[in-house]
């Protein structure tokens, strides 16, 4: 069996097993075990020869992201094991939770790896399915509202994306790409120049709106902050870190196909507009948030907007900035959710006003969270600083009139995050909740948090040359 298939099927086999395990400690351990087995296999993908294996493909564009996703899957499984007792699941929900977690990990890996656009759609659909029920799992009215919004908006989104996929097939069929080849990204990319430009335009609009909804681009973002605020924190961490990447990668692949036809509409300006709208709206909205998890959900909207903006600008340098931004955001945002999850547990509330002065009372957590917020704000020396700097430099050089609103949006988000950093980590400590989390629960959040920070620092300062080469190669693929 080809390695990419194992990376998908192993978590799914794990999900089947976990659906049967009702003992909390055993289930948490099996969950970590499956993620720990998947991680080295996903790392091996980096060294695989690039090419197509049936419905999947390995190329420079997806291999680094699958490896990163497996790493985040592993740390999130560790985090989840430590927080399990605080979620207060009954046996049914416990089994559903662990199964959904692994189902989600396998599905987003498949979404990244699939060459066949139909399979990619199915994978994103499965990832949605797994996460919708998990957002609702606590069964509070707010959770139901969030899950309902998530389900309806993303249901419409993926329906539109499927229509786009069908139209894309029709375009390929007219130039002889019938059968399996009509949905293969590689062959579509190759024949795109001969396809009917009108059909490609139609397909692109539907794919952009469809997968753009899942990627949380404004004005299709409404579900994202709500979904991030509800459900188990581990699910928020992987939703923000992994699902958004998989969806944005789908948009990028669609853009690559349409961009290969000179007569079709230029896809760049669409992405630029949605990206800029996301950055600006996030910049404004961040100031009005009272809920910590919703705050960082909005921050994801802004970051996805930034990456979409970079892809809209196009060209190797801007694409590289976008890809680095996606990677950096995944690493740092999941770290933030670990920190916020533990803080919310310590303080007994996830409102920004109820969490304060963490550095004074819980130095390891407080400093970790402070650095993670600084990293997500794009302050040096972390990876997001490198990508944002590259993006601003590229924009200023090629379209200075776009650099102004982008810089304004960036400034607003950075300022809002620094303000949040001061409130959460510095300032006067707020009272702790009566029930303090145990040592294991604290370690299981703090250790992954610092690990992620180390990774973001390493990638920002001295990215291994082989990986840098791979990313540079990836940046040339979408054009």
């Amino acid at each position: 069996m080809p390695l990419p298939w194992i990376v998908v099927l192993l978590p799914w086999a794990g999900a089947l097993a976990l659906a049967a395990i009702a003992a909390p400690r055993l289930a948490a351990r099996v969950n970590i075990g499956v993620a720990a087995l998947t991680f080295p296999l996903a790392l091996l993908l980096l060294f695989q020869p690039h090419g197509v294996q049936g419905w999947t493909r390995v190329d420079a564009l997806n291999a680094p992201f699958v490896a990163l996703a497996a790493f985040i899957g592993l740390t999130t499984a560790v985090f989840s094991a430590g927080q399990l007792d605080a979620e207060r699941f009954d046996a049914l929900r416990l089994r559903a939770y662990h199964a959904a977690f692994q189902l989600f990990l396998g599905a987003q890996a498949l979404a990244l790896l699939s060459d066949n656009l139909g399979i990619m759609w199915v994978a994103i659909e499965i990832a949605t399915l797994a996460s919708v029920l998990m957002v609702a799992v606590h069964n509070t009215p707010a959770a139901i509202e969030a899950a309902w919004k998530f389900f309806l908006l993303c249901g419409v989104g993926i329906a539109l994306a499927l229509f786009g996929t069908i139209v894309l097939y029709l375009a390929a069929q007219a130039v002889g790409g019938a059968g399996e080849a009509g949905l293969s990204w590689a062959s579509l990319h190759a024949v795109a120049a001969e396809c009917d430009p009108g059909l490609l335009n139609l397909a692109f609009v539907f794919l952009l709106v469809g997968y753009g909804t899942k990627a949380g681009l404004v004005p299709l973002h409404a579900w994202l902050p709500d979904a991030e605020a509800e459900g188990p924190i581990a699910i928020s961490a992987v939703l923000s870190g992994l699902l958004l990447n998989a969806a944005l990668m789908a948009v990028l692949r669609a853009k690559a196909i349409v961009g290969a036809n000179p007569e079709a509409v230029a896809p760049g300006p669409f992405l630029l507009a949605l990206g800029l709208a996301s950055v600006l709206l996030a910049g404004v909205s961040l100031w009005r948030r009272a809920d910590a998890r919703r705050f960082f959900g909005w921050s994801s909207v802004g970051h996805m907007g930034m990456a979409a903006f970079a892809f809209g600008l196009g060209g190797a340098a801007a694409n590289l900035a976008g890809l680095l931004h996606m990677a950096g955001h995944s690493v740092v945002k999941s770290a933030i959710f670990f920190g916020v999850g533990l803080s919310a547990r310590i303080k007994g509330s996830q409102r920004l006003a109820d969490i304060g002065g963490l550095i004074g009372t819980h130095p390891l957590l407080g400093w970790g969270l402070a650095l993670a917020i600084a990293a997500v704000a794009g302050l040096p020396p972390f990876l997001l600083f490198a990508s944002e700097f590259l993006l601003l430099q590229e924009t200023a050089g090629r379209a200075w009139w776009l650099a102004l609103p982008l810089a304004l949006g960036l400034f607003l988000t950075v300022a809002a995050k620094v303000a949040a950093l001061q409130r959460l980590c510095l300032g006067d400590p707020t009272p702790d909740a009566a029930e303090a989390p145990g040592r294991a629960a604290r370690l299981s959040a703090v250790v992954p948090l610092w690990l992620h920070l180390g990774l973001a620092l390493l990638l920002g300062l001295l990215m291994p040359p082989a990986l840098a080469g791979l990313m540079a190669e990836a940046a040339r693929i979408p054009g």
């Binding site: 139909g118 659909e125 919708v132 389900f151 419409v156 229509f163 069908i166 069929q173 009917d196 059909l199």
Partner: protein, 222 residues
Amino acid sequence: MTFGQLPYDVAHLLGGIMVLLSFVLLYQRRVSAVIGAFAVQGGVLAAAAAWQAWVQGSPHLYVTALIALVAKAALIPLALRALVRRLDLHRTVETALGIGPSLIAGVAVVALAILVVLPVTARVAIGTREEMALALSVILLGMLMMITRRNAILQVVGLMSMENGLILAAVGAAGMPLVVELSTAALVLLAFVVGGVFVFQIRERFDSVDIGFLEIHRGERR
């Protein structure tokens, strides 16, 4: 294959009936009538898929037809009816937009679908063109239904009606691979969510599946 030939005419007729049923979904006020119209649409979809299977000579489309018949025309409507009964939901529903304006918007949406699809599909096989226009109409009408209805069950019906349109498009695109897989995957999501409402007893938490009620829990107003 052109107008006046049986394969084309029947496919066109079935697609047209599906659009008509989408309009029925748009103006019905009673929940049970909406579910009934949805079941009929599922049955017509099954017939359309079976017809395409026969015309295109691709037997795997019979599987799609069978899935549509069993799930869309029978199981899901039955489950929805059970849900309405068991949760004792309101039997009649208010619309966010009046029936008249909804229907006018529906006509506009169908015109839009035709204006969008026909010009760009000049190189696509005749027959497929019209099928795509009808399918896009069903999709957009389903979306319109989700916008104009404030009741949760009816929004799910709207989403499933959108999905009917998708499957109509997929079976109409001759030789499209993975149609069975795609239609099954689309179904599974909806089935799981409807099932999730059952299993997790979501009803216990709020008194109405009216979305208007949920809105007070939205955002930061808690």
